[in-house]
Amino acid sequence: MSNDRATSTPFTKGLGFFVVLGIALLIILGIFVSPADVNQGESVRIMYAHVPGAWLAYLAFVMTAVSSAAYLWKRTRSLTWDRIAGASAEVGVLFMGISLVTGSLWGRLTWGTYWTWDARLTTTAFLFVTYIGYLAVRGLGGTHQQRARRSAVLALLAVLEIPLVHFSVELWNTLHQEASVAGRGTDVEMNGLMLFTLFLGVVVFTLMYIWLVLHRQRSLMLEDMLDDSGLDNALSERRAEATQVGH
């Protein structure tokens, strides 16, 4: 029984090992090996956390939406999907937070300010808060089914904000002549090692995402199971109560 309570399996242990290894490698490559950027100098190294953070947050939120849809579809309805959705959203909020923090640090170094009221930044902040709202709705209480249904609907709506964040740059610039941000988009010239490091960052963040979601999903399941295995006990307790009253 006590083994069931752990959230790790041999697979997640192995995965955890690779994650730690990957982070170490990323730090080495990102900070010591990869070159400084022509325009941005050393500060470009922030990119290796910032960009994977944002992308993985997107992935996490899409995953939340997909599992929510799977939950809502009658044939695949299962609370497992709901827990995956919840776990994924939590990890997504974490990654989005990483991206926000690293982004504003980067902004301090390159633009001279932590925050500016650019469309990308603002929509990112909206996205972040939307998922905090999603988590708040998950925490409202009620039965598991209730929680699952409410939050699934919300997740399907919230995911629509991602294109808004992604295309905000163009949407905004086409109509509004704000100074466009240097280094934004694909016009950055990257050398091979930089590109590889970025790629590594994405891989490492992906592994980290899987690892975190697996753990979180399992611990959510244990919480639910506590309630459900609680159910058998509670049922027999409640039945016993009836016999007491009967006599």
Binding site: G133, A136, G141, T143, R149, V153, E161, L164, L175, H176
Partner: protein
Amino acid sequence: MSNAGQQRFTGTTVIGTARLIAAKDLRVELRSRVLLNQVLPFALIVMVMFAFALDSDAVLERVAPGLVWLAAMFSTLIMVSRSFAVETADGALDQLRSAGVPAMGIFIGKMMALMAQLVVLVTLLILTAVVLYRAELSWAGSVLLVTTGLTATCGLAAVGTLYGGLAAGAKGRETLLPLLLLPVVAPVLIGATRATESAFGTRGVSTGQGWPWLGLLAVFAVLFSVSGAVAFGPLLDD
């Protein structure tokens, strides 16, 4: 009474329900006059207060359209919470649900009633802005303005009703609703502001530049009207 058996099911259709609910909401509003006596003054105060906070004429001229929509948005917030407070005060929403009244009808009805009230409000706000800031409206500008007003209002009403229903049953709904609503309506705020700016010709923006923003508003309105109508049932259900 033999024909009553046939008649009975009219009320259970989506359209019938929507009409019933909208009529009820508007009647409650007519009795309590909350829009006129409370929301409208509130919206005006919001506009004036921000104007004060900015306190420089040059800035103000530029942000006037934004103020209209800011006020509209906050008014939506309080009107939605009022609209659902009426339903939950004595458990009527529960009762509707337990009577098997089609959720889609409830959504459409409440959204229509909210939209009707919002249209009145937004019209008055825009008129105020036109008068206060001596905006000059061309024909093309007026068309854009009216279309923008209707589309944005529709979007606000749809998303407000959807999240209002979600928060209605929850405890702490007073705080949950603004949290859910604000980040989602922000695009409406931006789109409507830009479209209004170009209708007014603020900052030398031409009218033509407003139409793409209207597209954004229309997408938003359609998206939330449809998904609201579909998702309202599952949201209310527990």
